[in-house]
Subunit: 194 residues, 2 copies
């Protein structure tokens, strides 16, 4: 179970966001979730990063210090919660790629998790941030599954043009910054048909 | 944000379960969740323990080692997921207390979170394990809120007899060990009325 750090964890520590947003993708999502929570619109939280703790010191009675721990591969996705009684579950990914989203960016068990949530009546999707064009798309899990199945015998990525076709471009706003719930609302009302 | 370790984290490292179950409460729940997942009944996972990472070493190209980190106070609950299209959210607590469940065992913001989930149409509750009598109860969040409100001016705990009255005793089984979804089913079908 002990494993390499995931790229995102490294990213948040070392890289900066080069877009004009000036804020990391994760922070934009978290800020939006805080907005939804504060306005009692939705209850959606980011899960903590999964860690395997090996050694803990108790230097004083009041505190514990973790002295050895390792990143674990996450078994599910980063975000989940509830909106209008519906279970919401999604993963957020960013890519510097200019023309497509490489499927290697997402673990197979995460795809399976998203599919499973969908089968149980939840709303599951991927938020994809294309840094090169500074645009964020919501792509429902049913399409991710299709593209994944295609990748077994062919193309290992999803073209931006394909995402434009079946995904939803999320407009940037002031408050909340990334109003993805607006898109979720559309999915609930239309059953996801474009 | 840096904080004392929560009692549960210490518990899993240092204490043993003295009951005849021979397995920690957390493991019993996790095992049941794995059963639900394997049989495609429900998708419910335990969230990772929230950690504040301060220092990470990269001793080799292949791995990262966290060398300094601290436990954070969890902002939500331990478990959430989906069952029959419903959002499920709960916290698990155990007590050695023989006659009541002390409300100090659960953070105020966790009670608020459970209440908020309930208001948004989800099913939220507490699983309470009384080690002294080796029994596990499911208590819906609406009752927890009532008992919490009472505690502001009076009793700081919930009597076992009160839990027996409004909660559900969960029978122990072979597979899954702790079939709490059976109770959730009852709540869905009856709207939670006893």
């Amino acid at each position: 179970m002990i494993n390499y750090p995931n790229k995102k964890a490294q990213f948040t520590k070392t890289k900066r966001n080069h877009s004009n947003r000036g804020m990391s993708f994760e922070n934009i999502i978290n800020e939006s979730n805080e907005y939804y929570l504060a306005h009692d619109i939705a209850v959606i939280h980011k899960k903590p990063i999964p860690i395997q703790i090996v050694k803990v010191d108790y230097p004083s009675r009041s505190g514990a210090v973790i002295k050895e721990a390792y990143y674990k591969v996450p078994s599910t996705t980063d975000y989940n919660g509830i909106y209008k009684g519906k279970y919401i579950d999604f993963e957020a990914k960013e890519t510097a790629n200019k023309t497509s989203f490489p499927l290697s960016n997402i673990h197979l068990h995460q795809i399976k998790h998203l599919e499973s949530v969908n089968n149980h009546g939840g709303i599951s999707f991927l938020l994809i941030y294309f840094k090169s064009i500074d645009q964020i798309y919501l792509l429902e899990s049913k399409y991710i599954v299709n593209f994944y199945n295609r990748s077994k015998e062919g193309r290992k990525s999803i073209r931006i043009s394909e995402i434009e076709e079946v995904g939803y471009l999320i407009k940037e706003g002031f408050s909340p910054r990334l109003d993805y719930i607006q898109v979720v609302d559309k999915i609930i009302n239309t059953g996801g048909e474009l």
